[in-house]
């Protein structure tokens, strides 16, 4: 078959057919993938909470609480298993070297730090990014500690028992500060078993 001539009707018709076909296909595939996409998004949202908290089967977001600490207001997500409080995740932040460091901290009901997840940071790669577990052991210092008897401050500053990342005192300070804030919020939030 020879090439179609480029007259107006031909062009219009072709384009209409092409667009019709592809839009139909797209709409169809959209319907197909809608569910997985939503699942993925939900997973992404809850992943951090899942990591930092012990097992839970409630909807921590549904039970979120906002607590004011100083000038800031922090979000607290309690995790419960069969209505028993297993842990509390606190979203917190403090200004580091390159910008705000946002952490999600999982506390056990007794206030012990279980896990810390870095949600977002802008620290220098190679220096401040050692707050990531994949980059250094710095964050491990906090696990299993209870801020009640573990002084959240940089040892070098004489302010506490945390060994700073070398050459990243500011980041380390900010990290400690954020954790402290989260702990304060936790205390203030007074989340109890239901």
């Amino acid at each position: 078959m020879a090439k179609k001539e480029s007259n107006f009707t031909n062009m219009l018709a072709t384009l209409l057919i092409v667009t019709f076909a592809s839009s139909a296909a797209l709409g169809f595939i959209y319907e197909l993938t809608k569910k997985p996409i939503e699942d993925a998004l939900l997973y992404k949202k809850t992943l951090a909470v899942q990591i930092v908290l012990p097992e839970f089967n409630n909807d921590p977001f549904g039970e979120a609480k906002r607590v004011a600490v100083g000038k800031d207001t922090l979000n607290i997500y309690p995790g419960r298993k069969d209505s028993v409080l297993t842990g509390v995740a606190v979203e917190t932040s403090a200004p580091g070297y390159g910008g705000d460091i946002r952490l999600l901290i999982g506390f056990l009901p007794d206030g012990t730090i279980r896990e810390v997840a870095v949600l977002e940071h802008k620290e220098t790669a190679g220096l401040g990014d050692k707050i990531l577990k994949s980059k250094s052991d710095f964050p491990l210092q906090f696990e299993g500690k209870n801020p009640d008897n573990f002084k959240l401050g940089v040892r070098k500053d004489g302010a506490g028992e945390v060994d700073a990342i070398s050459a990243s005192t500011i980041t380390s300070r900010a990290y400690c500060k954020a954790v402290q804030k989260a702990y304060d919020a936790l205390k203030k939030g007074e989340i109890e078993n239901e």
């Binding site: 072709t14 384009l15 592809s22």
Partner: protein
């Protein structure tokens, strides 16, 4: 034979990135690690193959003047499909909250539409050749693209992070410059130079 040639030429002799300099934006933007480069390459290959197939089968019916817009619609649809797929299945963040592959590739997924390779192949090859040949061509070119991205990604990951595909070869960080934007340009520059030398050698023999 011919098909085989069509398939292999995309790797070295007519590598879209390293020799023809097509699709440079995604190459630079998504090659900070081997896995990202590879994913982007495969996503592009997917679009390339399917759009090549579709276009080669419909090109006879399309008047010349609306050729390009029709191709664009076809390509854009496949891109959107890839987007859906990746959003659904490659959107899991890593254990340490490394962004998911989908997030890392970011803007470059929709930009596959304007990747010169895709439209270029549609125009230059698929619209003139049969379905099977177009498929082979798309596959070859796409894999060539993926190959280049993977190479670049590996080089950058190795130099910048001391690892390839996440497997650590050296302790600690590498030269972080290579995983930051300037490193992309530098690494690609040298890679192209090496490719040029290689091709010259090949041509001599």
């Amino acid at each position: 034979m011919n098909n085989l040639k069509n398939f292999t030429k995309g790797f070295i002799k007519e590598n879209p990135v390293l020799v023809l300099f097509l699709g440079l934006c995604p190459t630079l933007g998504t090659s900070n690690s081997a896995i990202n480069g590879l994913s982007m390459g495969l996503a592009t290959t997917f679009v390339l193959v399917l759009s090549n197939v579709v276009i080669s089968s419909i090109s006879r019916f399309i008047p010349d003047k609306v050729r390009i817009p029709s191709y664009i619609v076809v390509i854009a649809s496949f891109v959107t499909v890839v987007d859906f797929m990746m959003k659904a299945y490659l959107n899991t963040p890593g254990k340490n909250f490394e962004p998911s592959i989908y997030d890392q590739l970011g803007i470059f997924i929709p930009l596959i539409v304007v990747n010169c390779i895709v439209l270029g192949r549609a125009e230059a090859f698929a619209s003139k050749n049969g379905v099977f040949a177009s498929l082979i061509d798309g596959l070859g070119m796409g894999l060539g693209f993926a190959f280049a991205l993977f190479m670049l990604g590996s080089v950058r990951e190795l130099l910048g992070n001391g690892s390839i595909l996440g497997f650590k070869f050296i302790k600690g960080d590498g030269m972080l410059m290579f995983v930051s934007p300037p490193g992309a340009f530098l690494a690609l520059g040298f890679l192209i130079m090496l490719m040029r030398k290689l091709n010259q050698k090949l041509a001599k023999n």
